[in-house]
Amino acid sequence: MESKGTRMRRRQIEFGKTWLVIAGLLAVVALPACVTINIYFPAAAAEKAADKIIDEVWQLKQEQEGAQNPPAAAPTTTTP
């Protein structure tokens, strides 16, 4: 049987190990991720921007609004 103190200490050590693993993960995953932001072309954002511009230029927005989106005033009326 372990004493309560030993168990607590063990848990603390395990917790320390967890952080070590997390720090490792962070170094491996997060750092390259930060770099990629500036290098790679944001394809999804570009599509979104293109869609918005095309809707405006071809004036598709008004036609779609009635069919797809509820009136713009709806969200404000639902707030308490």
Partner: protein, 139 residues
Amino acid sequence: MKKLLLTGLLSMTLMGGVGLLQAAPDLEANTPVITAIKTSMQTRHAQLQSYYGSGAIGLTQDGYIAVKDASAVPLSQRGGLAGLVKDENSDRARLYKEIAAANGHPEWQGEIQSTFAGRWIDKAQAGWFYQKEGAWVKK
């Protein structure tokens, strides 16, 4: 068990954080220059619309427009149409360039142009023509 749970939870939080970092921010497309180009294209579209419908013009694979069938247009209008197409394409080229510049990445111009190329065709009305592998296709 508790440790596993904790590790799982924390790594999920971490992944979430990384996901947020990777989630590309919206592309800036609202500079005064871009707005001016959009307005100009919007005005021109009122004139171009019927030409798309008649098949006189179509959408190219590279994000521009081109005269597809000049014979669909009365002789007297052909010169005007050529001018419209030229102006439209110069606006489009400027648009792609300006979006890339507004986001601090002039080198993105080509990718922005090909993104637009696909989206113009996707959003085109049924009956309009677009280019696919060099040939005109009716949507």
